[in-house]
Structure formats: C-alpha cells, structure tokens
Symmetry: C2
Subunit: 110 residues, 2 copies
C-alpha cells in the first residue's frame, strides 16, 4: 500500500512553499528582510512591482502573520511595514533556497 504522504507534514510543506512562491512575495519579503519599511521603499526595490500588487501582497502577507503594519499617528499618518518573528524565521529558513538558486542559476522559465 503506497504510504500516503499528503499528510499534515506535506500539507504544511506545500502551503509554506506556496506562500513564498506567489509571484512577487519572495522579492517583497527580501526587501523587508533587508530593512525597507515604507511602501514606496519596497516598491522602489522590487523591479516591475506595481502599487496595486504590492498592496495586495502586503495584505496577504499580513493575514498570514508574516508581516506587521504599524500606523504612526503623525499628521499625516505614517505607515511602516516589518517582518514579524514568523516572517523573519521564514527568511532564515529560505536562505538555503536562495543559495540553491545561486548554485544552479535561474531555472528555465516555463
């Protein structure tokens, strides 16, 4: 009987891979990891990223507990973004994947 691997562990692995694999999420997480905090800063660091897509991905990453959004009550209000502990831990866990990308180069686009 083939051992069914789509158990909890594989489901989590698949979900984690999909979280990170969404178009632009890797670049946005990398920008935050490297210290960007403002919307315009992140936008400026990830080539080709649109305002609309960045806003959407930030909402998703926030909902997934990877990014936190701080509202600074100045006039006008200022918004700062940062990785949560979970998000920072994720970026550490992704360093070997980044190193893999260095070793093997960008896979052929399909």
């Amino acid at each position: 009987m083939t051992e069914h691997i789509y158990d909890e562990e594989c489901r989590r692995f698949q979900a984690s891979a999909e979280t990170v694999g969404k178009r632009w999420s890797g670049g946005i997480l990398m920008a935050l990891y490297l210290g960007s905090t403002r919307f315009s800063e992140i936008l400026g660091r990830v080539e080709g990223l649109s305002d609309r897509m960045l806003a959407q991905r930030l909402r998703e990453l926030e909902a997934e507990g990877l990014v936190e959004r701080d509202v600074i009550p100045t006039v006008p209000v200022q918004i700062r973004y940062a990785l949560t502990e979970r998000g920072t831990d994720l970026m550490r866990a992704l360093q070997p994947l980044a190193a893999w990308g260095q070793r093997w180069g960008t896979p052929a686009r399909v």
Copy 2:
C-alpha cells in the same frame, strides 16, 4: 538612493521560490523525494492531484531540470520519474522551509 535589491540574487531567489511555490509542485517533489517513480504512484500519494495537473507539472519540472523521465523499452513501454541532482539538492535546501512549516503550522489560507 535605495539600493535596488532586484538584482540577480533576488531574481534567482524569486524564481526559485516560484518554482517550488507553484500549486502541487511541493507535493510532487516530496513524493519523488520519498521514492515514488511511477505516474500512478505519485498521483496516489498527493491527495487531490489530477492526472492532467500531474502531467503538466511533471513537464514543467522536467523543463526546469528538476525531474528526469526515463523510458524503459519493455512492451508496453514503462515510464519512470526521478529527481535530478538539481532536484535532490533543491529538496535538501527546502528542509528548513518544511521545518518552518512545522514550527508555525499552516499559514491562514488567503
């Protein structure tokens, strides 16, 4: 001047994350990593995966150099799938991501 991070390294990181993050790819790579070689075996191990989607992902993973497809000239012909060296190296690089998934549980689906 905001240092533009979308350089080669970040592009590769984004591409690697997207390769793995595509729906079903993680589960299929895991099945191959755990020893499945036949189409029907992989299909049986990844819950909810359709024939059509498995065939498509296998073609993509092959085109990206992560999976190899061997044709055994029996009658009828037999097809076997396996991770390439690049694919096996990727799965090793993903273990910390799998461990992260264990630590934090499945992110809220968005």
